[in-house]
Symmetry: C2
Subunit: 180 residues, 2 copies
């Protein structure tokens, strides 16, 4: 079984995951403490985390990194100083998947707009939990960049929160589940 | 009361309302005859329709136009030959709203990615019924272009269909309903 590649991300109604300068204050303000958007349950099923360099730079100052003992894979052309538990590499989406599969990892959390889009361009994302925040941001880092491989998705579930947040979970339709 | 400005539109999960050449076959294939996404109920409450020239050109060949006796307003810098019931004009979003309000129109259906975005840039859209089609299109005409006025929205309702389509309705938060 190839490693399952999963997205868990929040975006504004107009499709931005962060402001252009990487700010998430609008998301923090919209989220409510008493609502469970599913992150803890999700990350508990992942045994690795992948992100691009832009996303890493926003969390690099956090010590320890917020992923427990899960290995972190950072896609970058300009690796910074080595860090325990972090692989800085320059590989294609297919090469990364082959490595994770060889290593026996079952599920990787793929994060960050650019990295998600590069995996979607290869048709490699298996499932996406998308949280839509009830606001228009106007500009920012887009969740989806042009170039995703055209594909049908199966809607797995929808959940609505009192805050106005909406979770939608989509699963890639493969031949095995196209008629499911 | 100013005229209410409303959006009713379908987009792919990655945010496209049509392919780059304006095709909607992917939407027609995903929609099911036995599912009611709400268009008939919506259009029944509108007493006018607005769109940009790009959208108009796709429906211009339909005779009669599919909006009954509702006046159609086409925003264009290059008006074609006159047509009964159609106003080709070159006005700002604010000028259009003032005209509709003066004319006593209660609700206008604002259609097309560019026109929707130009009204969102002015903060003038009152409500949006967004249907998300369960597929990745990869490229196309985006529903949201950068530049929407930053604004909180109130989630009015969510509806999930067996096909995997999801309707979300958002209402602009104004001072009058900010605490509703």
């Amino acid at each position: 079984m190839p490693t399952q590649l999963s997205v868990f991300i929040a975006a504004s109604v107009d499709g931005y995951i962060a402001t252009l300068d990487g700010k998430l204050d609008w998301l923090d303000q919209a989220a409510r403490e008493d609502e469970d958007y599913g992150y803890d349950a999700f990350i508990a099923t992942c045994d690795g985390v992948a992100m691009g360099r832009g996303t890493y730079d926003f969390i690099a100052g956090i010590e320890p990194l917020p992923y427990g003992d899960r290995p972190l894979f950072v896609f970058t052309h300009r690796p910074p100083a080595p860090r325990a538990g972090v692989t800085f590499w320059e590989v294609s989406a297919h090469e990364a998947l082959a490595h994770w599969t060889d290593r026996g990892l079952r599920r990787i959390y793929v994060d960050g707009g650019r990295l998600i889009s590069s995996f979607l361009a290869e048709g490699l994302i298996d499932d996406m939990l998308l949280t839509t925040v009830p606001l228009l941001l106007g500009d920012g880092i887009p969740l989806f960049q042009p170039g995703a491989r055209r594909a049908s998705l199966r809607l797995d579930h929808v959940q609505q929160f009192a805050s106005g947040m909406v979770n939608r979970r989509y699963v890639r339709v493969t031949e095995a589940n196209a008629h499911g």
